[in-house]
């Protein structure tokens, strides 16, 4: 590796995921000399973009692999619903309105799409799926960067940003165990959230956070975010808010990604470790509900829950990466799951007794609800009576945290005394402005692409 501290870079991009790569490409195409500092080793490059699979895209008619149309107001309404209104309308509408022109730009820079994946047909109108998933997108962008002469350094941990009088002057990074001072004329921060730092999560959440699984990349430890906040950068977002879903409790502690998902909840009863139900499992179709279940499970004792189905439902959802626990009796299943079999049997029997006759339709809200139990299950409530019985443990799986840096419409970072002169931010590090809570599938990539491109253009304009 050549000594990157011997060059004064036009634009330094911290973080080589989707947002950082989009910024680097835009800046390099505008003629800037660009350096990407990526903390992960090459096989894990790309941050959480490695785990993504699609891009939520506004469009006025069929576009690439997208069917029909998805107008900006419908898109914004979808965002309002998941965030409960906790969003910055100006930035959100900017992301939505710009998404349509991003898709052809992505294709022109090497990203390939594919028709909606099996089991995700409900997203074929709103979300464009990457051929091969997010890692293929990351590969395409790194190749584009290489062709544009962008220098990318892996295993480069940025530890401090030097700010003087509201302007960036350089940064400190550890590369191959040695500390370097690297100078640049503009800075793009695209280094993600802090979910890889369990101590920080525990500060925000309390000790329960130590039982969370980190479904996203472990390399986002929030070092740069913390450094910027310590220097007075304005923060947005609540440190307890994050993209957290309920995932297979046996998933790896870090980096489990998509395969750790469990889609069985709507067809199951979910109990906590005391064998008690705690929420309506059938409130809505799973793609609209999976993002709240992380927090629901996080609120249970020991941050664990158990989803129980019977033979009738075994093939109604995507296969799980780990096989379920299986038993011929509910009591036996409880023992295998490590909870009271007697209590589980009582809960499941009470639930089954509360189920009514009616037509069961797994693909849509069927109104097949329980009577007389609390909490009710309002759709897909069928008695759990047919052996063998299957059980999965559930734990909260955090993909990324929402606490971040405040930016304006040009992605410029707000400092203690107004906007910083030459610092922009894109991707998860600023997504908290738009995602106050909840999550909308594919929107993280939209925010990263839109603001990454803006940040790169603005940074290049500044050094122009």
């Amino acid at each position: 590796m050549r000594d990157v501290s011997k060059t004064i870079w036009d634009v330094i991009v911290v973080g080589g995921g989707n947002a950082g790569l989009c910024a680097a490409i835009e800046a390099a195409e505008a003629g800037a000399k660009v350096l990407i500092l990526e903390v992960a080793p090459k096989p894990y490059r790309g941050g959480n973009s490695r785990h993504t699979r699609n891009f939520r895209c506004m469009h006025q008619g069929p576009l690439s692999v997208l069917t029909g149309d998805y107008d900006p107001d419908e898109y914004y309404d979808d965002l309002l619903r998941v965030t409960g209104g906790k969003t910055d309308e100006t930035l959100a509408r900017l992301a939505i309105n710009t998404s349509e022109s991003c898709l052809p730009w992505m294709e022109a820079h090497g990203v390939r799409f594919q028709p909606s994946l099996s089991g995700t047909l409900s997203l074929s109108r709103t979300n464009a799926f990457f051929l091969g998933g997010g890692k293929a997108l990351v590969n395409a962008y790194y190749n584009t960067c290489a062709d544009l002469g962008v220098e990318a350094v892996y295993e480069a941990e940025v530890t401090h940003i030097s700010l003087e009088d509201g302007a960036f002057t350089g940064l400190e990074a550890i590369i191959n165990g040695e500390t370097y001072d690297i100078e640049g004329r503009a800075l793009v921060l695209a280094s993600g959230g802090f979910q890889g730092d369990l101590d920080w999560l525990a500060d925000a959440w309390g000790p329960a956070a130590r039982n969370f699984l980190i479904r996203g990349t472990p390399y986002n430890r929030g070092v740069v975010l913390r450094d910027m906040l310590d220097q007075g950068a304005v923060s947005v977002g609540d440190p307890t808010q994050c993209h957290a879903v309920a995932i297979d409790g046996r998933a790896p502690k870090f980096d489990g990604g998509i395969v750790t998902r469990l889609d069985c909840v709507p067809f199951s009863v979910v109990v906590n470790k005391d064998g008690e139900r705690f929420y309506d499992e059938g409130e809505d179709v799973w793609p609209k509900r999976y993002a709240i279940w992380g927090r629901l499970v996080a609120a249970q004792p020991d941050q664990v829950a158990y989803s129980i189905i019977d033979a009738k439902s075994a093939e109604l959802f995507m296969p799980s990466v780990f096989p379920p626990e299986t038993a011929d009796t509910i009591e036996g299943l409880g023992q295998k799951l490590g909870i009271s079999g007697t209590k589980l049997r009582e809960t499941v029997e009470a639930f089954s007794a509360a189920c009514a006759d009616g037509d069961f339709t797994p693909t849509e809200l069927d109104g097949l609800a329980t009577n007389g139990i609390t909490p009710a299950k309002t759709n897909w409530a069928r008695p759990i009576t047919e052996p063998p019985f299957y059980g999965y443990s559930l734990r909260p799986g955090v993909t990324f945290t929402y606490l971040g840096l405040k930016v304006d419409q040009t992605a410029r970072v707000a400092g203690p005394d107004g906007d910083l002169l030459n610092v922009w931010a894109a991707g998860e590090i600023m997504a908290g402005s738009i995602l106050g809570q909840g999550y909308l599938a594919g929107f993280g990539m939209t925010i990263g692409t839109v603001f990454g491109r803006i940040a790169g253009q603005e940074a290049a304009k500044h050094v122009g």
Partner: protein
């Protein structure tokens, strides 16, 4: 029969495909992933079918978020390649030859040397008293006596192998529509086209290129042209009373010369891109595969050289070398990489059959 598939490469491929089935990001690359999503559990025969459907385009590997050092350690192209090669060993008849040439360059070279020596010996000691063209050195009767069994034996061996394949994957009676679809897929190498990427990953790692597909097309079509050349000559000899040597504007030459050129260049190109690609994404049979590719190239190149040398003193030696290459190629076919053509085609037929049945089609 060799190892039980439940305990070997098939088990590892099954472990990986179950991870893939929970992910499904790669559905757009090739037929393996849509075929996978039709199932939740994978019997040994299902794995054999998926393994032989895989063309090793490697798109899924470079896109995979679970490759090493991730603890899931997914490397599906390599896992399926190993399961595929193990399956050819199980299907090989007679089993004693299983994997002998497919995995071992040395054995391939030994057969080649023996075959060339045999042809030299025959040309030396069995030279006819009279004859025209090649038949001045080896009589037509001797060539037929040698090559008829050398051709029919591999055909029989492969037919038995494919029958074993069909039983293992649970194939059903074939409709014409299945053969037609498989023919289109094979002729276009659709599964090396990477869906919307329009190319695959091979010698340029995570960049998409068509080098391997183009090289394979040259070899495959060159081989088929050469096969057509030989077939046309056989027809001319036996049914039209028109014996060799044939002039430049006859079917054997019009098919054979371009075929030989395509096969020679294609095989060289194919072997070259193979040396550039990451060996850890394929089967552990690099030497045997490269030796086979070069043997195919040698069949084409020596055939062209022989034609170019017409009327010179080099003909007897070149004839022995060329026929030696052809003999070695035929004899090793059921146990060399060449066998993949038969099993891959069977897999494409089975895939077309399953898709037709799932559409409820009745065309025949």
């Amino acid at each position: 029969m060799l190892d039980n598939p439940s305990t070997t490469a098939t088990a590892e491929a099954r472990r990986q495909i179950e991870i893939c089935n929970a992910c499904r990001y790669c559905e757009g690359y090739c037929a393996v992933f849509p075929a996978m999503t039709r199932q939740r559990a994978f019997a040994d025969g299902d794995m054999t079918q998926l393994a032989n459907l895989c063309h090793n385009c490697r798109g899924c590997y470079y896109a995979c978020q679970y490759t090493e050092p991730h603890e899931f350690a997914v490397n599906l192209p390599a896992a399926l390649a190993e399961a595929r090669q193990d399956s050819w060993d199980r299907f090989a008849w007679p089993g004693v030859f299983a994997g002998m040439f497919q995995r071992r360059a040395g054995a391939m070279i030994a057969v080649l040397i023996a075959a060339i020596a045999l042809l030299f010996g025959m040309a030396l000691w069995l030279q006819p008293e009279s004859g025209e063209g090649f038949y001045a050195y080896l009589s037509h009767g001797i060539m037929v006596a040698l090559f008829t069994p050398a051709f029919l034996f591999p055909v029989l061996a492969l037919a038995i192998g494919v029958r074993r394949y069909w039983n293992e994957v649970g194939g059903e009676p074939v409709h014409f529509a299945d053969l037609r679809q498989a023919g289109i897929d094979a002729a276009s190498l659709r599964n090396l086209s990477g869906g919307q990427a329009g190319a695959c990953n091979f010698e340029a790692e995570d960049r998409f290129t068509n080098a391997r597909k183009h090289a394979h097309q040259a070899v495959m079509w060159g081989f088929l042209l050469c096969f057509g050349s030989t077939t046309s000559a056989t027809i001319m000899h036996y049914f039209l009373d028109w014996s060799a040597p044939y002039g430049p504007l006859t079917p054997p030459k019009l098919l054979g010369v371009p075929g030989g050129i395509l096969m020679t260049i294609g095989a060289g190109y194919l072997a070259w891109v193979k040396t550039k690609a990451d060996p850890s994404l394929g089967a552990k049979a690099f030497g045997g595969e490269v030796a086979f590719t070069l043997l195919l190239g040698a069949v084409g190149a020596t055939g062209l050289a022989l034609y170019a040398a017409t009327g010179t003193g080099a003909v007897p030696a070149l004839l022995a070398i060329h026929l030696g290459c052809v003999l070695a190629f035929f004899l090793t076919t059921p146990y060399s990489k060449m066998a993949h053509g038969a099993y891959r085609f069977a897999a494409l037929v089975r895939e077309a059959q399953i898709k037709r049945q799932s559409r409820g089609g009745t065309e025949s």
